[in-house]
């Protein structure tokens, strides 16, 4: 079987989606882990942190070569995931032909499982905004304020401050929260679907993956959503 | 004279001997020989696939949209085979003997013996194809019992044995289609047999989608078109099951064997009203665990669960202690009718008896409890355990029952009543399965073959597959070996032209009657006549009346039929009208045959001929023959007799007491 066909058959297309999706999920783990460092500034931990922990971690991510290479991979995978997603959706939509007068709707499946393309589009739009907020100024235009730590030995971008500034705009906060909700629904379906696509059929494991998928989506997206919220309400802030 | 071409020699050796001496066709000649197969049920699909594998050029036809939907798919209970895996005393001889006895000594010994011989191979073949038969925990095949036997020789796949067997044959068929050895024609109906110089040489078929007529040539034609139980309108057969293919052949000269032998199955869901379009079988396998009873008191209107055990009449166990609930179908059906006619029937219509699983549920519950090492289990848990076992065995049947009736058979006993189920009669065939027309064969339910006057449960699947997988591949060679010189006859031959013209004319006639009554309504009326006067019990007067009524109905049909739509179109009304027209003619023949056979045997019960206890009474001295009817003209048939000689089994009055 030719590779080209292996990845483009009815199942092949889904395998591409699943593989890229799973990679993106693993990226999310890193991303949420790292960004959660801002919560160190919460009053239960160390209100004087002022984002130091986060800024250092972000700096590490920006400077390690491996991670920079992976970042290229990440962008590539995002693009493949998006393009393939649209191709898949377009192909699938074309298989119905004439539509139904009364449709099955939610009687057979969850709305979000049928709406992966729409949710994906929302996430995509969110991503554009998100990248322009942080990644562009940090990596491309490099017009972020700098801050020094460890008695002046370490000098890094003050991304924490940038976040804080961005999240003072209530509209942005709302858009971010909406983005997180889209992501959550996208993940609730995408997580197990990816494993199913990759051939996990054992009911016991599927049940486990299902719970993990739910837990993961809710946890990750709640954490993400809490970031703009807690900054907007100054629970976390550079004081 | 009818020559059944039974091979010489002792019964045990006939088939082996035959195979050893039969003419063969070499592979290069096979490629040039074309065979038409009508039907894709167990008989047709297995024949078409096997002949394709051998290298013949095969064309296979069915009226459904896929060969896998042939009516064999509906068979539920199982398939017999003399494997003796249970070590309970089964053998080829015993299967042979049970079948001959079950058929009330009206079948041909040599055929039945061959059937028993090949039965074991069928199971092997099906397992190899991937048929998922039920298995025991050790991984080996499981068996259950069926009526009319005292051994466990029935192989099954839950309540879907027919489906699984047919899918096996269908897959083999699809494989031959993919290889180009078989060409499949779905949504096609054979409407005429084409004969050239006294031999079957092809068919005229109608493409049911476009309405076009097509001509197809074959060096031989195999009819595997299933049973004609729908002549009774209500039956357990599929809506499309019909007699048209064999009826056309009959009118072209193929004799019809024992048309009156129809099987009424004892356990079907009762009729609910005028709207009823078909009846649903509850597999005979249920009688393994279900007990049949009616109240001892006439017109007892209490709910079944309120009637205590001592006020119930388990009439089969009472009348037939040796076989109990597992007596053959004809016996069980008549016993149910007897109780209902005597006023003991249950349900609103009073035309039903109970099939009760309560004691089986309890018994299995105890077994389960001890399997799980539990003692002192309360009654409810026992019942829960028991229900689980029953569910595994018959779950789909119970679900089906509940969907149709709205009652839960795990709690309330099923209500059942006999219904038309199977036709033992069919085209007369010789040992080689050839009809009285050269080159025309009949396989499966549409031939009269192996079941005599009554078929035992789980034997039809066996016969269909035996015919298709293991008999026809040998016997057809004996004919085709002489046909290798016959070139493919172009379908421009006048015989094809004339046959097509005749079909066209008939279709036009049907369309042009432009009367007021639908084909469906005629079918219903025919069914009522047949059921009332030629059903579970028959008598001379009723049969004579039926014949006149049917002749009258035929006149009315041809003068007052109404069909909408057009010929050159997808037109199910026209398809139905053609089938009903043939059923009406067949109905008359069935009644004539029933009238002529003034004895009771198997499914044919003549009220004039019964023992004092109301059991069927045969008259071997007068009727030990197969009735083979030759069509000689409108309403006219001539009877030919094939005397049956029993060399091994000694016919006795059947007893299941």
């Amino acid at each position: 079987m030719k590779w080209s066909y292996f990845f483009t058959s009815a199942i092949g297309k889904k395998i591409v989606m699943a593989l890229t999706g799973l990679f993106l999920i693993s990226f999310l783990i890193v991303h949420v882990g790292l960004n959660s460092c801002i919560f160190y500034d919460l009053r239960w931990f160390d209100p004087t942190d002022n984002g130091e922990m986060f800024n250092k971690a972000a700096h590490f991510m920006g400077s390690a070569l491996v991670i920079r290479i992976m970042e290229i991979g990440l962008f590539l995978f995002i693009i493949v995931h998006i393009v393939q997603g649209y191709v898949l959706e377009a192909k699938n939509l074309s298989k119905r032909g004439q539509g139904y007068n009364v449709s099955l709707g939610n009687r057979g499946s969850k709305w979000y499982s049928r709406s992966m393309a729409i949710l994906g589009t929302l996430i995509f739009l969110f991503l554009i905004m998100h990248i322009s907020h942080f990644w562009v100024p940090s990596r491309i235009t490099s017009n972020l304020q700098e801050v020094t730590y460890n008695k002046g030995t370490v000098k890094v971008h003050n991304l924490f401050l940038r976040m804080f500034e961005v999240f003072q705009n209530p509209i942005v906060v709302i858009l971010y929260v909406l983005g997180c909700i889209s992501l959550a629904y996208h993940l609730v379906h995408g997580f197990t679907s990816a494993f199913r696509t990759m051939g996990v059929y054992n009911k016991k494991y599927l049940a486990m993956l299902n719970s993990i998928g739910y837990g993961f989506s809710i946890l990750v997206c709640t954490l993400f959503a809490l970031m703009p919220i807690s900054m907007y309400f100054h629970w976390v802030s550079p004081n | 004279m009818l020559d059944a071409k039974i091979p010489e020699g002792p019964l045990d050796d006939k088939w082996e001997d035959y195979k050893g001496h039969v003419k063969l066709v070499n592979p290069s000649n096979k490629r040039r020989l074309e065979i038409i197969v009508i039907g894709s049920g167990l008989a047709g699909a297995s024949a078409a696939a096997s002949l394709g594998e051998l290298g013949y050029k095969v064309k296979c036809f069915c009226f459904q949209d896929s060969p896998r939907r042939a009516h064999s798919i509906a068979a539920q209970g199982g398939i017999n085979a003399a494997k003796n895996y249970q070590n309970d005393g089964d053998s080829v001889f015993r299967l042979f003997y049970d079948t001959v006895k079950g058929g009330d000594y009206r079948s041909r010994e040599a055929n039945v013996h061959r059937l028993a011989e090949v039965s074991a191979h069928i199971i092997d073949q099906c397992v190899a194809q991937g048929v998922p038969f039920a298995r025991e925990y050790g991984g080996l095949l499981s068996n259950r019992s069926f009526g009319g036997t005292q051994v466990q020789r029935t192989f099954y796949a839950a309540g879907q044995t027919g489906q699984q067997l047919l899918i096996g044959a269908y897959q083999a068929l699809e494989r031959q289609i993919a290889l180009g050895n078989v060409a499949m024609y779905t949504r096609h109906e054979m409407l005429e047999l084409v004969m050239i110089d006294g031999k079957a040489r092809g068919i005229i078929a109608r493409n049911l989608i476009s309405g076009e007529l097509e001509r197809h040539f074959g060096h031989a034609v195999l009819l595997c078109s299933g049973g004609y139980g729908n002549v009774f309108y209500l039956s357990t057969n599929a809506m499309g099951s019909n007699t048209t293919a064999i009826w056309k052949a009959h009118k072209k000269g193929a004799y019809f064997g024992n048309p009156c032998y129809t099987q009424i199955h004892p356990t079907c869901i009762p009729v609910t009203g005028e709207h009823q379009s078909k009846l649903t079988l509850m597999s005979e396998s249920l009688r393994n665990d279900g007990r049949i009873w009616v109240p001892k008191k006439k017109g007892d209107n209490r709910k079944p669960n309120e009637i205590p055990a001592e006020e119930r009449d388990y009439y089969l166990e009472r009348r037939y202690p040796a076989y109990g609930n597992l007596v053959p179908r004809d016996v069980a059906s008549r016993a149910a009718k007897e109780r209902c006619d005597a006023g003991y029937g249950v349900g609103t219509s009073k035309q039903a008896v109970y099939l009760d699983f309560a004691s089986a549920i309890e018994r299995y519950g105890h077994v389960e409890a001890s399997k799980r090492g539990l003692s002192n289990v309360d009654a409810d848990t026992i019942i829960t355990f028991g229900k689980e076992v029953i569910k595994e065995k018959y779950g789909n049947l119970f679900d089906m029952y509940e969907k149709i009736t709205g009652e839960n058979p795990y709690v309330v006993p099923m209500r059942i009543y006999p219904a038309v189920h199977y036709t033992m009669g069919g085209l007369w065939v010789d040992y080689e399965l050839m009809t009285t027309i050269q080159g025309l064969y009949a396989l499966g339910e549409c031939n009269f073959s192996d079941h005599g006057a009554n078929r035992l449960g789980a034997s039809a699947l066996m016969q269909g597959l035996a015919d298709g997988y293991f008999v026809i591949p040998y016997t057809i060679g004996n004919y085709l070996a002489n046909e290798i010189g016959t070139a493919v006859i172009p379908t421009s031959h006048p015989a094809f032209v004339d046959a097509e013209a005749a079909v066209k004319e008939r279709l036009e006639t049907l369309m042009n009657i432009k009367g007021n009554q639908t084909a469906e309504s005629f079918h219903k009326r025919l069914g009522k006549i047949m059921w009332d006067k030629c059903g579970m019990a028959r008598n001379a007067q009723g049969l004579q009346e039926a014949i006149t009524e049917i002749q009258q109905l035929k006149k009315e049909f041809w003068s007052d039929l109404k069909i909408s739509g057009a010929i050159k179109d997808f037109n199910p009304e026209l398809d139905k009208a053609g089938r009903v027209a043939d059923f009406i003619e067949l109905g008359e023949l069935i009644c004539k045959d029933a009238l002529q056979r003034a004895e009771s045997c198997g499914g044919h019960f003549r009220e004039e001929s019964q023992t004092e206890e109301g059991e069927a009474l045969r008259h071997d001295a007068e009727f030990m023959y197969v009735s083979a009817w030759e069509y000689v003209g409108d309403h006219k048939w001539e009877l030919h007799k094939e005397e049956l000689e029993y060399e091994v089994v000694k016919p006795t009055q059947r007893s299941y007491k």
Partner: protein
């Protein structure tokens, strides 16, 4: 069981043939008994139409026992109607009540073109089976049935998959008109048995290629197929098929 009669409004898709445009036609049917089956209700309507000299509604059906897979109506937006694990022919009128409006459409999928009214062409399923849905064994080659013991759990799972009746409801319900549930049922049926092993890899690859050719979509695991399948075929079969596909695709040398 209480029985009752009802009057209903039917909105049925009528289409003369594959080439013509279709439209909905509305019919009033009265005095329908709750004991009737759904198709018997159609029989009554059709009888009336024939008497009125109109073209009756064409629909596929044969066994009326829920096993042949012929019947195929999209009833009020759900393939085979409102009852769980039930074919159209097994649906009974007690599922409805007096005054209901029932919308009936054919299966909608590019792979199932409409032939007439509610009848579609499902021959694509046969061609998918032709691509490899079998075990290549000629008649007469078999060994004794008990010479290959099969683990009961596997035999049961194989049977559960083999229960598919090829009705096409899964395709009709799937937003992608994917035939994956049907296909995976066949692959599981054969792939779970020892007899099916020799051809297991080729089978999955060629059957999937055929499904692609027949214009069915990809599975995105929404689960609609499983929800409407009258034979309760499990969607896990699709994962199993995907696993087979991965294994076969990665190990194939072509």
């Amino acid at each position: 069981m209480e029985h009752y009669t009802m009057n209903l409004t039917l909105k049925v898709w009528r289409q003369a043939n594959n080439k013509s445009e279709g439209r909905f036609e509305t019919y009033q049917v009265n005095g329908i008994s709750s004991e009737m089956s759904f198709l018997e209700m159609f029989d009554i309507l059709n009888e009336r139409l024939v008497i009125e000299g109109k073209d009756p509604i064409a629909f596929d059906h044969d066994c009326r026992e829920g096993i042949c897979g012929m019947c195929s109506m999209h009833i009020n937006g759900r393939p085979h109607g409102p009852w769980h694990a039930t074919t159209t022919c097994q649906l009974h009128m007690r599922a409805f009540k007096d005054g209901d409006t029932i919308v009936v459409e054919p299966w909608r999928a590019v792979g199932f073109p409409v032939i007439k009214d509610l009848i579609t062409d499902r021959s694509a399923f046969d061609r998918i089976v032709q691509a490899g849905g079998f075990i290549s064994i000629n008649t007469g080659n078999a060994v004794d049935g008990n010479s290959i013991p099969i683990e009961k759990a596997k035999a049961d799972a194989s049977f559960a998959a083999a229960a598919c009746i090829a009705c096409g409801a899964c395709v009709a319900a799937c937003k992608n008109a994917s035939a994956s549930l049907f296909l995976s049922a066949k692959i599981a049926h054969l792939g779970l048995l020892p007899q099916g092993q020799p051809e297991r890899k080729d089978r999955v690859l060629s059957m999937i290629a055929q499904m692609d050719k027949e214009q069915f979509g990809s599975c995105t695991f929404t689960g609609a197929c499983e929800a409407v399948c009258p034979k309760e075929i499990s969607i896990t079969n699709i994962s199993r098929m995907n696993k087979d596909y991965l294994m076969a695709g990665l190990s194939s040398e072509k």
